[in-house]
Symmetry: C2
Subunit: 195 residues, 2 copies
Amino acid sequence: LIHVNILLFPEFETLDAFGPVEVLGHFPGCQLRYVSMQGSPVKSWQGFEVLTESVKGADLSGVLLVPGGQGTRPLVEEPEFIEALKEIAERSEYCLTVCTGSAMLAKTGLLNGRKATSNKIAFEWVRSVNTEVQWVNRARWVVDGKYYTSSGVSAGIDMTLGFLADQFGADTARKIAEGIEYIWNSDPEEDRFAK
Amino acid sequence: LIHVNILLFPEFETLDAFGPVEVLGHFPGCQLRYVSMQGSPVKSWQGFEVLTESVKGADLSGVLLVPGGQGTRPLVEEPEFIEALKEIAERSEYCLTVCTGSAMLAKTGLLNGRKATSNKIAFEWVRSVNTEVQWVNRARWVVDGKYYTSSGVSAGIDMTLGFLADQFGADTARKIAEGIEYIWNSDPEEDRFAK
């Protein structure tokens, strides 16, 4: 059994969160929890609201998934949010970010000296958030220790399949991809969106 | 400006709805509404709840998006739901279904004599729901009149890009795919998941 906490915040990018959720939901024995700092309904950038549980009191063991999106821009400037994120990420067994979710994680300092990637359109902004991270431009996703960071939006699906492959074998990932009729880009170094 | 109503129901498949939502949300001037028959929070098969507006009283003009998922199995047997779906689909300017969403649409009779497709794993069940539909096994998505039907889950993303390409040109679709770092399978007839 693996527990995954999906951290939602205002203006998160829909597919950053729900691409990985789709994949993880098809892994038997994966328990998904939808959490936010306040525990109220959270509105995505695409305008729908999702009910969430507050991180306070939630069981935060297991895997943490951090999406990106427009909402990350103001949040990297909110020390209280970043401090809380740091605490949750430190407690997680694995921490996966999608798109500009890695900018928020970088702001915590936890990626210092580590390799990481992000959305290619927002890459310069993400780099500027913390230059002590070894930002990798050409990568669909990057693994460094317990941290998985992916490129933009759809890359989160590929990374999540990669994560399951690392944990449970490539066959597990391939079967899930087949089940959801997804053409898995299984090579983390192949990145046609790199500039 | 295009209005899109996303029809949610208990146990809908996450990516069936939110893959297309991701794509549509990046089209400037696209207004998304999240509706359900009851207007209460709706829980996806992957366990999160989304706030919705009731179809009663909602402006149902424009495009209707119908996801699939486990929830379609009981719903094809609920005449009241199917009758309401028929009414909404008839009023729509375009009606897009993903995965087994086409089984529910087929049950309304609106696809009779038309070409349509669905998830390849559930194909025999979908066919059995209404044999008067010209079910196409090998297709990423199928267009017949105002009806767009796609194969399983991820195919909904390809179909939605295809829909935008038909309406606003292939460049529009390509730019959105690039922005979300999605490798668009732009040929509706290429279907590696067909049996």
